[in-house]
């Protein structure tokens, strides 16, 4: 299947650039994990998302970049239920879906690592991992006394954290507020990776971290991918995007401008595309 977006030219390229007419081929030999088509979201007279398309392939890290106000966060929110699009379709593994809340998206196996992490500092690591999906004891204690199965939750938490190499966290009863920024990010990523069955969305995972801690989190993201979990990565940090991403979705003026391969496009070209200083590359260079 091939989609042509005719209006892309006049949006993206300057008159002087003289770029050839562009088509962004979205040939799908593989069914995308998530496919969005013609997504529109209007806030009053502002169109935050203007017929945006989105494809996430199995097992990949798809970075989403775009200038401030390009509408990338609106699109990502639509993908994970925080925004309900006015128009357009979403297909999860080829089946049409509609998420009205993040909880509905969660129920479909989509997990989000929010920029502010959405952890409860006064609760323990284990409590945080299971917040909102606690496991109850079996039998009478769980059914009538609603007793939590702490042992099962602790074992699970310990397994998940060590699977991701977060062994520096010794005590899963430690309160989250006593952890460093990187460790907290680790807990948030572990929570997402543990419960996601389709894909994980990470919003600026390294924005609040120092150099060493960023390194640790980047490794962690690659660990999650190595386990076969597709990841949508939103970041302003170009070196991190280029290091991690398999494909880069460039968002501009409320829609997908193009998808590029980080191997064949330089960082400054990506920035130029993002800001409109350069026209999207011809179809051959774009990666489907």
């Amino acid at each position: 299947m091939s989609t042509t977006i005719p209006s892309q030219n006049d949006l993206a390229s300057r008159p002087t650039a003289g770029a050839p007419p562009v088509t962004t081929p979205v040939t799908d030999p593989v069914t995308p994990v998530l496919k969005g088509r013609g997504l529109v979201k209007r806030y009053g007279s502002v169109t935050a998302m203007d017929h945006a398309d989105f494809d996430l392939m199995p097992g990949e890290i798809l970075a989403v970049i775009g200038d401030n106000g390009a509408g990338k966060s609106t699109m990502v929110k639509a993908v994970c239920g925080a925004v309900v699009p006015d128009e357009g379709t979403l297909e999860l593994d080829g089946e049409a879906v509609l998420f009205r809340t993040p909880i509905e998206a969660q129920a479909h196996g989509i997990e989000i690592v929010y920029q502010n992490l959405a952890l409860s500092p006064a609760l323990s690591i284990a409590d945080n991992l299971f917040l909102g999906r606690e496991i109850r004891r079996e039998g009478f204690l769980g059914k009538y006394l609603k007793m939590l199965d702490r042992r099962k939750m602790h074992d699970f938490a310990r397994t998940k954290l060590s699977e991701l190499g977060l062994t520096t966290i010794q005590n899963i009863n430690q309160l989250v507020e006593t952890l460093s920024g990187g460790q907290r990010q680790g807990v948030a990523v572990a929570r997402a990776a543990a419960f996601a069955s389709k894909f994980v969305v990470m919003d600026e995972p390294t924005a609040a971290l120092g150099v060493k801690e960023s390194r640790r989190v980047l490794d962690l993201i690659q660990d999650v991918r190595a386990r076969g979990m597709p990841i949508v990565l939103i970041s302003h940090n170009m070196p991190h995007v280029f290091e991690l991403a398999d494909r880069i979705h460039i968002h501009r003026l409320g829609r997908r401008l193009c998808v590029v391969d980080p191997q064949s496009v330089s960082m400054s070209d990506a920035v130029a595309l993002m800001t409109g200083a350069m026209a999207p590359p011809p179809a051959a260079e774009a990666v489907a």
């Binding site: 409590d127 609603k146 007793m147 960082m267």
Partner: protein, 360 residues
């Protein structure tokens, strides 16, 4: 677009050169060395009930040494009896304060429920087996009104409950017509209302069933807060409401249920209070609101939500009881009891603020 090199490779600009010698360890959160004071701070931060327990033990020992008859089984159980009502109201208040809210209407709900129970059974002749559940339902309804205003209209709990305090109190005066229901009348027509006034002796000490029920309620809510998902959600909502919502918790439902449960507990405290006081009076427990908050705060629960324990509230209520009794038996003027409780509140909040800095 000629400069296709990555930003990392480009030449350094003048203002950037100083950075080469600066530290690249940006985020170090763990302090490698802690002073003894910081050790204490960390210990108390993870065990916030230790301070109130220490205060309770030390004050009990001091009053035992200086006050006559303080250390008698009779006096110690009397203290427990005296804190029964405030203890139950304190459980309700703890639930609300853990969600970073406050309920100024607890005592008003309690008195309203007693007036409903007493009015229906004694004045209107309804069987008390029906009047009591109706009174309890009235408390739950009042709590749900508070919770509904807090969640549906996003009004601050302080203002909502300040308003409903006045409203419920007005309803009390309207329903009771300002009249108390006498103890004899209750005995005659509705003895069930005094169920929790019964006493029994155990090793020379007098216990009321009400105080035993209060202790059982503390055990129950300790279990609920620590070992059920709902309890964890109460903490999470108070700690960071947005984070709780994004984690998939229906925060409005949790808040609404907390206020409703608190209302039910207040009504139950009312039932117990009829047994303890003997009569139903629209003017009683006027200071109950603030006494319950006092117990919660002295017990180490943070007014900012998410931190604290139900055990602390029991200890806090007992501390107030011990100070009142001890100062009384030492022959100190009543005004100094108020002074001491006031000083304890300020001390408790100061300690809470100091402990919060651990995470800052």
């Amino acid at each position: 677009m000629s400069e296709t090199t990555a930003p990392a490779k480009r030449e350094m600009q003048d203002f950037e050169r100083v950075l080469t010698s600066s530290s690249s360890e940006l985020a170090r959160f763990d302090e490698p060395r802690r002073s003894p004071l910081q050790h204490i701070q960390h210990f108390l931060h993870s065990n916030p009930t230790v301070v109130p327990v220490l205060v309770l033990v030390v004050s009990t020992l001091i009053f035992g040494a200086i006050a006559n008859n303080f250390f008698t089984a009779f006096n110690l159980t009397l203290i427990i009896q005296q804190v029964t009502i405030i203890g139950i109201l304190g459980i309700a208040q703890t639930l609300v304060i853990l969600t970073a809210g406050i309920d100024l209407s607890v005592a008003a709900i309690m008195v309203l429920s007693t007036v409903v129970m007493g009015g229906l059974s004694v004045n209107m002749g309804l069987p008390s087996i029906l009047a009591v559940p109706i009174g309890l339902a009235c408390g739950i309804l009042c709590g749900a009104v508070n919770g509904g205003l807090v969640t549906l209209f996003r009004l601050p709990p302080f203002i909502v409950t300040l308003g409903t305090w006045k409203i419920f109190f007005a309803l009390v005066l309207w329903l009771s017509a300002g009249q108390s229901i006498r103890s004899q009348d209750i005995d005659a027509s509705a003895p069930l209302l005094k169920l929790f006034g019964g006493t029994f002796s155990l090793m020379g000490a007098q216990f009321t069933t009400g105080s035993v029920v209060m202790l059982l309620l503390f055990v129950l809510f300790f279990y609920v807060l620590n070992s059920t998902a709902w309890g964890r959600h109460v903490y999470a909502v108070g700690d960071d409401r947005d984070a709780a919502r994004l984690s998939g918790i229906d925060t409005d439902r949790v808040l609404l249920s907390v206020y409703a449960v608190a209302g039910g507990l207040c009504a139950f405290a009312g039932w117990v209070s009829i047994g303890r006081v003997g009569s139903v009076s629209p003017q009683s427990f006027f200071e109950g609101n603030l006494d319950a908050i006092t117990a919660v705060v002295i017990g180490g629960t943070s007014l900012f939500g998410g931190r604290g324990s139900i055990v602390g509230t029991l200890v806090g209520a007992l501390i107030v009881g011990v100070f009142r009794s001890g100062l009384n038996l030492s022959g100190v003027d009543v005004l100094w009891q108020q002074f001491a409780v006031g000083a304890l509140i300020i001390l408790a909040v100061a300690i809470d603020q100091w402990l919060r800095k651990v995470s800052a």
